[in-house]
Symmetry: C2
Subunit: 393 residues, 2 copies
């Protein structure tokens, strides 16, 4: 049997044959969504102030293992503001994986900073701490307790580990690099709400973190994001900056710096509150789906399922197949066949250094990212499929 | 009777005494809001793609007298992207009234451009075309069909007329200035959805315009905004830029420039579609409220009601009182008394050149803006008050 046909059969064994077309990941509304959004309409509190904004901030912080949460319009805004309040300035460089969604690089560019690309680790698909260290040893130096790029003359102000598809980065090792090369750690936790690294929740593993609630994520607010941190001062400044930097006053309009309008409407926060109430159950369902896929792919030749390293627990946002090198030339054929068979499948992102606007950016050796680009596929991962997956076990 | 007590009596005559506290402007949901947002939940289409996004874009364009609409996360984002697609570059100057909400200046700053402040006209509270021309004659010159600031050496790329509280700027006169001093006209129509200038809708009076649907506006999406224009190319580029600049492809992630994540979720667009269906009725109610206030203030000494000049029709977003110069020292006292009496009242914004971050920006003589700052008040203006207003007539 061809690899493509074999994959179709194994995936259909897990997700069932009820539908001709199974999407990659759909939002699910099985809780109080309807009740809470109608409450916004009935009370008139739909906009940027409202009780659900505050509730959602508290719950998102809790779900990230942090003391403070600031909810915003989307994950890109969350990352941009996280970088700013963490001290990244225009003209600084920010280290990040080349293999990430474009928002990581764009948020950095919106700050006026320069994305500097690092290679990926095969075991997590996230930034590789070993290669990060080796690259810094080659290009950087520490002066005045800050890290500088000797080639560009720019300060390297931050590293942004991104937990790819929910699989946690080896954060102890990233933090060990940072203890030798001083910079802030801004987690891009857009995809990893509920994931854990050594018992600690993603979002609490650096100085500050950005989360996304876009429609394709594990929970959604339609569009939305959050900044989470244990640092009360960073959180206060993030709240101030994202709400037009207005000073509190009974009636006067005084703003004390150039702020942003990145508020999350109460309507969307209400959706988020209802969705977060289901996150525990959803994590269970997605775990069961993963186990079912794991069993189905046990004996397969040609692909492996990505599994979080020991000590890490992925939220299993998107189930990930890695094609063996021998078959890497078949990626597009596999995408074609799987999608034609109604099994929505997507490749990993084009690495940042291969996009027009980031081609000339500073970068390390990126051979793993380039290799992985030809070998990574995501297959249907919606939580509801977990119920079918359990039946298939 | 003191002016404060007289104002309280006259306003209460219009808005009634049913509530102890009457807010400045509340959203109202009297149409299909509940039906349409539940449809988003039931179908799962809550996020950045969905039929309400497209419907809302078509309807917003129609309500602005334009052929194209692109809906986005909020009015600030709409203005930032409007400036970019209209050709404003980092380092350019952008002319705007000093008397505006801070978003006008912030959106410009987010582009990397420099706000350059112009004085206001007493008859509209918007940018004064005569003072605009006089200032350009003093500081600018035309070279290669572009306008340059002789003092700063920067290009003056755009003018942003903002229709204050819904009252249209004298746009024929602004456009006449621009025919002598080449630059693009980007309308800040955040507050003026449904307002008309010489039979033409606000939003269709320049090259491109930005609209806001924040919770306090005449209609709301919770948070949201729109870019409207008759230029298909500008609209296409605005859509591309606000949706991460991703190229269409079955599965590949290729983005061809540094884009933004400024998408309006389908959930919020659904709210907008339902709200727009009521805009006609709301404009009627607000007009009736204005007439009731006009009658109530006919004989008053010490304040005047702002009325749009002949040929212009305001959407009456916020009803505006202008305190006579003799009483301008009493502004804070009036604010205090009116708010204490449960009549929510606010002053106009602090002019931009008096905020810390814009103090050193280029500017014209701003004596009218400074004078108006001490004399402008907004009083309760919600559409539902129009029904009471009609009864009071």
């Amino acid at each position: 049997m061809s690899l493509a046909k074999d994959l179709v059969r194994r995936i259909r064994d897990v997700i069932g044959t009820q539908e001709d077309f199974v999407p990659l990941h759909v939002p699910e509304f099985n809780g109080r969504e309807r009740e809470l959004i109608l409450d916004c309409i009935d009370t008139g509190w739909v906009s940027s102030v409202g009780s659900y904004v505050e509730k959602f901030e508290i719950e998102v912080a809790r779900w990230s293992g942090c003391t403070h949460g600031v909810v915003v319009a989307n994950g890109t805004a969350a990352l941009q503001i996280s970088l700013i309040v963490a001290g990244v300035k225009s003209g600084d460089e920010v280290l990040m994986p080349a293999l990430t969604f474009v928002a990581t690089a764009n948020a950095t560019t919106h700050v006026g900073a320069v994305p500097h690309f690092i290679d990926s680790a095969y075991d997590t698909l996230g930034i590789c701490p070993m290669k990060l260290r080796a690259h810094l040893e080659q290009v950087a130096e520490v002066r005045d307790k800050q890290t500088w790029n000797r080639h560009t003359g720019r300060r390297i102000a931050a590293v942004v580990p991104m937990h790819v598809f929910g699989c946690p980065v080896e954060m102890d090792e990233v933090n060990a690099v940072v203890s030798d090369w001083p910079m802030v750690v801004v987690e891009d936790a857009a995809e990893s709400l509920g994931s854990r690294y050594k018992e600690r929740l993603c979002g609490s593993l650096g100085d500050i973190a950005a989360i996304s609630f876009n429609g394709n994520k594990i929970i959604t607010t339609g569009g939305g994001g959050a900044i989470v941190t244990d640092d009360a001062e960073l959180a206060m400044r993030a709240k101030h900056l994202t709400t037009t930097a207005k000073l509190p006053h009974e009636w006067a309009f005084v703003h004390d710096e150039v702020g942003f309008n990145y508020r999350l409407p109460n309507l969307n926060a209400a959706l988020g509150v209802a969705q977060l109430e289901q996150l525990d159950a959803r994590l269970d369902q997605k775990r069961e789906l993963f186990f079912a896929y794991e069993k189905a792919f046990q004996e397969v030749k040609g692909v492996q399922l990505l599994r979080a390293p020991d000590g890490s627990v992925s939220n299993n946002w998107l189930v990930t197949l890695i094609i063996d090198r021998a078959y890497s030339g078949e990626r597009d054929h596999l995408l074609q066949v799987l999608n034609e068979e109604g099994i929505m499948t997507r490749p990993v992102w084009t690495p940042m250094h291969r996009l027009d606007m980031y081609m000339k950016n500073p970068r390390a050796d990126l051979s793993s990212a380039e290799d992985l680009e030809t070998r990574v596929l995501n297959i249907p991962s919606s939580a509801y499929l977990g119920i079918r997956g359990r039946a298939a076990l």
